[in-house]
């Protein structure tokens, strides 16, 4: 009976563990979801670690070391369906801020003996090295979206994750627009929905933790924010956050770097 269940594996590269913790945070759904699969490899939750192949693999974290690259390639070989979860795995994460700096300098700032540290110059999304079947956004991912994606693949369906902006979600919730009403800079117009537009719901601007929406007009938004009196440096920082190395945010931040 047990052997007929699909085998699920959860892997980690460079990350904070928050996205895989989202699985354990789905307290009300946890036993049902985990009951539908055989947890074959999930070191954070279980000391039972079965070898591949696996039916579904989830990867959290970005690729930052030569070892990560090898591991990602092996994971691809071991997993029938491979899903990256979270901003680190899909865009390089906050640690991608190193991509604009000299990593040797960074190592010296943190470590007394930089020669002990082996790291790549850049923090990169997993899909830069291997094919992935689906990328789930968020810093952290939304646990309900994560369950939807797992359930979709268990039923051989394509996940149905919206790619419109946070603005749409704000309108649906009936939020007062923080930018229009209070002049608060907000990345909502260019950021993919999925968080529940929580920042505007708490009277602050969106900081883009779900990354760029489908076809975002970052240029227009940046000009609008600049016209409100924000400095070029502040605009650069706004785009250079948890999804800094995603193409649209990266390019916009570089426009304002000068």
């Amino acid at each position: 009976m047990k052997n007929n269940k699909p085998k699920l594996a959860v892997f980690k590269l460079s990350s904070c563990d928050g996205c895989q913790l989202s699985i354990l945070d789905a307290e009300d759904e946890l036993l049902a979801v985990l009951g539908a699969v055989d947890i074959a490899y999930f070191p954070e939750a279980s000391s039972r670690m079965l070898p591949g192949p696996y039916d579904i693999g989830l990867i959290e974290g970005s690729v930052t070391t030569p070892h990560d690259v090898e591991l990602a390639r092996q994971i691809r070989k071991d997993c029938k369906t491979l899903i990256t979860i979270g901003a680190c795995a899909t865009a390089g994460g906050i640690q991608a801020l190193r991509n604009w700096k000299d990593v040797k300098e960074f190592t010296k700032i943190v470590y007394a003996h930089p020669q002990y540290i082996s790291t790549l110059d850049r923090s990169m999304p997993v899909a830069s090295f291997i094919h992935v079947d689906f990328e789930l956004r968020g810093c952290p991912v939304n646990k309900y979206q994560l369950i939807d994606v797992i359930v979709a693949y268990l039923n051989n369906k394509k996940p149905n994750i919206s790619s419109h902006s946070v603005c749409m979600e704000c309108k649906q919730k009936g939020n007062v627009c923080v930018m229009v009403a209070h002049g608060t800079p907000c990345l909502g117009p260019v950021t993919q929905t999925g968080c529940g537009s929580i920042c505007p719901s708490y009277d602050r601007g969106c900081y883009g933790c779900f990354g760029p929406m489908d076809s975002p007009n970052t240029t227009s938004l940046a000009r609008n924010i600049e016209a409100r009196g924000e400095t070029k440096y502040d605009i650069m920082l706004a785009f250079r956050g948890f999804n800094a190395y995603s193409e649209p945010f990266r390019k916009e931040s570089e426009v304002y770097e000068k």
């Binding site: 939750a45 279980s46 943190v110 470590y111 007394a112 003996h113």
Partner: protein
């Protein structure tokens, strides 16, 4: 069997990636290394040039399990740098959101990561087959901790509502009503949790430790207090750097901390309990008394009981805060950045977390230092194993490895934090 190497390449049920390497020579432990191979992420480096106001959001990303701890130590440090510290209900709400994180993190570690060791299961999913009611209750308790964090912080992981000076938005009194109802259930569930942990079997292992935690004059510590130990340390948070040093060792991506004057030390629930027993609320003292728990615990395996007691405290304290809550007029105080350096510490579920920031007159971070609890506990974990293994050296390999892993988990190590997981490798020389 006199000489051997034990290695665990990927230690399970800890947060992050690490390995353990133990070398046994002539029946004696020759070497123990807790190897942290979690890739370095360089937070202290890329914080340079960021705005002070971004520190709570950015440093939260060091750890998905204790983001509140990072946010709290960050705001404490920066507010102290500026000499502008919120008080009243904002201070109380910060204690409340921290209660939520303690309940969530302690319940996760206690039931899902540590209890399987005591009961002989690979994980909580297998444990749930034999103890369905215990696990269902644990999940509900954990959810209530998360509900506190979500109500005040906006979401469970990487909350968005904490800022330097206070919050972006504060809850209405009625927003906390449902939480209070749930917390009454949670407080009873926490009492059952403590009773459950007290029935477990503990290895006979007591050591002479230097315990360190924040100590507040009137409260069990979250965000404030002096840094004290059972061996005479009594300093302000500002004096941290003069009293503690960090060493970079070849086999670990986490820096090792020690006291400048002495050596390794012990942070976390047992340290807080031993140093602050008087400040626990009456219900916690009563439950500890009914179970005949001593006021000084020196067996790290009993950390699981203390996590239960602190969960009970956090439920009780959360109820107290909600009962006296009145919505403040403003969600935060006005912050005017100045050129300054500030130190901050708070009690993460796994122990004291220290931050220091140097900020320029434009409010940009010039320099940052972050010392997570797990990197401070590393040396103590290694020392524990050196003493724990010799009487057990003739155990079968599998059993010895399991017990060593359990000894590491006593500290609820958070290795993502410390690099800013665990492999066990025991070598026996023949």
């Amino acid at each position: 069997m006199k000489n051997r190497t034990i290695k665990v390449d990927y230690l399970a049920r800890v947060e992050g990636e690490g390995a353990l390497y133990i070398k046994i020579k002539n029946g004696e432990v020759d070497d123990v290394k807790l190897k942290i191979f979690e890739p370095p992420r360089f937070f202290e480096a890329f914080l340079r040039g960021r705005k002070y106001s971004e520190a709570p959001d950015i440093t939260a990303r060091i750890c998905g399990i204790c983001p509140i701890a990072y946010q709290m130590s960050a705001v404490n440090a920066i507010e102290h740098a500026f000499g502008q510290v919120p008080d009243g209900q904002i201070r109380e709400l910060r204690r409340l959101i921290y209660c939520g994180e303690w309940i969530e993190s302690h319940t996760l570690h206690l039931y899902m990561l540590h209890a399987p060791d005591f009961l002989g299961y690979p994980d909580v999913i297998h444990m749930a087959k034999d103890f369905p009611e215990v696990v269902e209750k644990a999940l509900k308790l954990k959810r209530i901790g998360n509900d506190i964090v979500k109500t005040i912080g906006g979401r469970e992981i990487h909350p968005i509502n904490v800022k330097v000076g206070g919050f972006y938005k504060v809850p209405q009194k009625k927003d906390l009503r449902q939480l209070r109802e749930d917390l009454l259930w949670a407080r009873d569930a926490a009492i059952d949790t403590v009773k459950f942990t007290s029935t477990l079997t503990f290895p006979d292992f007591e050591q002479d430790y230097e315990f360190i935690s924040l100590c507040h004059e009137t409260e069990y510590p979250f965000n404030e207090g002096r840094i004290k130990s059972n061996k005479g340390l009594d300093i302000s948070v500002e004096e941290y750097d003069f009293n503690f040093i960090e060493e970079h060792v070849e086999y670990s991506h986490a820096l090792h901390s020690k006291l400048r004057e002495r050596d390794n030390y012990f942070l976390g629930p047992i340290a807080r309990y031993n140093l602050n027993f008087d400040k626990l609320s009456p219900i916690v003292k009563q439950v500890a008394g009914e179970l005949n728990l001593p006021r000084q615990i020196n067996n790290p395996f009993k950390s699981i009981i203390v996590r239960g007691l602190e969960t009970l405290y956090a439920c009780d304290e959360a109820i107290r805060i909600i009962d006296q809550y009145e919505k403040p007029d403003e969600p935060s105080i006005q912050i005017n950045p100045i050129e300054a350096t500030g130190n901050g510490a708070s009690e993460a579920p796994r122990g004291m977390l220290y931050h220091r920031y140097r900020i320029n007159e434009e409010g940009l971070i010039m320099d940052a230092k972050i010392v997570p609890p797990t990197s401070q506990n590393q040396k103590t974990i290694e020392k524990d194993l050196k003493h724990f293994i010799p009487p057990r050296v003739n155990l079968p390999e599998k059993e010895l490895v399991l017990q060593c892993e359990q000894a590491v988990r006593n500290y609820d190590p958070c290795i993502s934090c410390a690099t800013h997981f665990l492999k066990l490798h025991v070598e026996r020389e023949n």
